[in-house]
Amino acid sequence: MSDPKPLEGLGTCPLPLRVHRTVQMAHGGGGRAMRDLIERVFRSAFSSGTSVPHDSAIVDLEAGRLAFTTDSFVVSPLFFPGGDIGKLAVFGTVNDLAMAGARPVCLSAGFILEEGFSLERLQQVVDSMREAADEARVSIVTGDTKVVDRGKGDGLYINTAGIGVVADGLEVSPSRVRPGDVVLVSGDIGRHGIAVLSVREGLAFETSIQSDCAPLAGLVARLIEAGVEIHCLRDLTRGGLASALGEIALDGGVGIEVEERAIPVEAPVVAACEILGLDPHYVANEGRLVAFVAPADGQHALEVMRSHPRAAGAARIGQVVSAHRGVVHLRLSFGGERVLDLLSGEQMPRIC
């Protein structure tokens, strides 16, 4: 009996070539299986088809300063009403760029896959990322894949880093915030946090609420084009409105006053918060921003926002003051006042 010859065209890879349903350790091993995964799943979704794969992506940019940001996404469950981890990963980083006044250009996407994770679900996430990238008008130009042992991850973690260009002379940062600045929010708060909680085991309830996960770069561009003097922008994420305001108050060394009555919260979000004992001011969002604009531009900024589909529900919620620097005060509908503190940790549902 002669030695078995390698079957033509199949090489000498010891892993039998068959279609896998789930992620294997080999998919992260740098060999054929990984190449196959990258081609079939990632490049076919993200690339324009013409580029040759290389260690780094080369991108042409117009003149200006670069904005650069990164974020990692570990949300559980991976799929929730109104979105999924992929959509979050794209919009989250796009929004971070937009908050610096940048036009987002391109993203990288790093995937940490747990052995055993369903390839079909991975495809769903990647398709969602492609759709999100199209909507946000960015390309995902480079990435990375690693596989960890079963039990060492929540199925899938994603990191995205992003590059954008900031026009000359434009500076959007907490350091520009001044007493007298008008504070605006681009829409109602608390949807994302409630949407995710509604499908979490042990807390499940039925609601019509969908995550507000959305790209905000277009809204920011419109505000800039309209000539609004924007001092600072912040997208609301974990920790909600209160955390975004609290951080700006600290970083900008200013006091902030907001009116409880002016902050838009939809009835189903109110209901869910009541049942779980949550304060909506601290519930996560993924498609809302706060804007700090020059006093004279307050009304104009509000009108520009409301004319944009992503901010039809925008509202003026307060102003920056020189008193109580570093602290946010909430003027209550009952006439008193309370401090909107930064939380020491995640807000927990309570019964007491």
Partner: protein, 368 residues
């Protein structure tokens, strides 16, 4: 929200505050018993609407704050075991035990899960027959029916992988401790409305009589709280000391007999240690003998866990209304929400946390 929003109308609240001002000719000190009421007072800024003569003291009606250190330490021991899925209400996650809290156990790899109801923990036990599911059953009488049902169902459905770590406390004995303290300044009580939906309020009459204090069953919305305070002030002004119900839409004099029967079936009254206060006789509930097989303490052999209270924390005196948070030397410095020494700083209803969040930027001369 129906039957909530109407009771949160600012104009209604302002009118009631006006009535309270009109009724008030003296200074009065009133204690609201329940943590949920404290939370509402702070959230809606109700105490700033009251005339300066009315002082509200936050009482010990916060099961989070009064859960004994031993229970926390037992919970931590059990939750650290590999086979255990440890379930709890969210309130308890960051309450400090002797050295750790449940949140830390979680970050160290323990399977600790927040649930909305003890029935969710029961569902987990069904879903994971290979794991031991333990539920931290804390609470006042309001939560006892829910915890009792979990025990009954576990037995009925023969779930041998489910158990309860029980730390149930009763309100009336605590009221007596507060009122009998020589330094007590409390002249009237707002009784916890949701506790009373279960227990009723007839048993408060002997207490009202013995100590000559009005006790008004009060709800949790601004209108409810202000009506409760108004009723209390009116009694105090006219020298009466009666039990009154200002939460009639939810509370009946005899409470909820079906729920009370279930509590009686599962639990019996026992002496219980209250964190920061010490042991109060006949102030807690423990599982009856026939439910010992769902008792987590016995199942995991943690009955003998011993503890040490940090000496600096004065939660106990604060819970009894004897001292105010700013009087504590550690307040705002060594003891803050991010690094709490005691439960009154951890719990968002705890008097210390409420003070820290609300009054930090004002001087200590502010009323309330």
């Amino acid at each position: 929200m129906r039957y909530v929003s109407e009771f949160r109308e600012p104009s209604a609240a302002r009118m009631l505050a006006h009535e309270i001002r009109a009724a008030c000719t003296n200074s009065w000190t009133i204690m609201e018993v329940c943590g949920g009421q404290t939370h509402a007072i702070v959230r809606f800024g109700l105490d700033s609407m009251l005339p300066p003569g009315i002082t509200l003291i936050h009482g010990p009606g916060c099961p989070v704050c009064v859960t004994p250190l031993e229970t926390l330490d037992k919970a931590i021991v059990i939750a650290s075991r590999e086979e255990v899925i440890f379930c709890s209400f969210g309130d308890m996650l960051r309450v400090p035990g002797s050295s750790l809290d449940l949140q830390t156990v979680k970050s160290q790899g323990g399977d600790v899960r927040v649930v909305y109801s003890p029935m969710d923990a029961l569902a987990l036990a069904c879903k994971h027959p290979d794991r031991e599911v333990v539920f931290l059953a804390v609470g006042f009488e309001t939560t006892a029916p829910a915890n009792a049902m979990a025990a009954v169902q576990a037995k009925r459905r023969r779930l041998d992988n489910f158990s309860l770590l029980v730390s149930q406390v009763l309100v009336p004995p605590a009221l007596e401790v507060i009122l009998s303290a020589p330094a007590s300044k409390v002249q009237g009580f707002l009784a916890a409305g949701h506790v009373c939906t279960v227990t009723g309020y007839e048993h408060y009459r002997p207490i009202a009589e013995k100590y000559s204090v009005p006790i008004v069953v009060t709800g949790f919305e601004p209108v409810d709280l202000l009506r409760g305070i108004l009723a209390c002030v009116r009694q105090l002004e006219s020298g009466r000391a009666e039990v009154e119900n200002e939460y009639k839409r939810a509370v009946r004099p005899a409470g909820n007999p079906v729920a009370l029967r279930q509590i009686e079936e599962v639990f019996e009254v026992a002496d219980r240690k209250w964190r920061g206060i010490g042991e109060i006789p006949q102030s807690g509930l423990v599982l009856r003998e026939k439910y010992h097989d769902v008792d987590a303490e016995r199942r995991f052999g943690v009955e003998a866990v011993a503890t040490e209270e940090p000496s600096e924390c004065m939660s106990g005196e604060i819970l009894q209304g004897l001292r105010k948070p700013p009087e504590c030397p550690a307040f705002g410095t060594r003891c803050r929400p991010e690094a709490p020494l005691g439960a009154t700083m951890v719990s968002s209803e705890g008097a210390c946390a409420a003070y820290y969040r609300y009054r930090r930027n004002r001087g200590p001369s502010e009323s309330g």
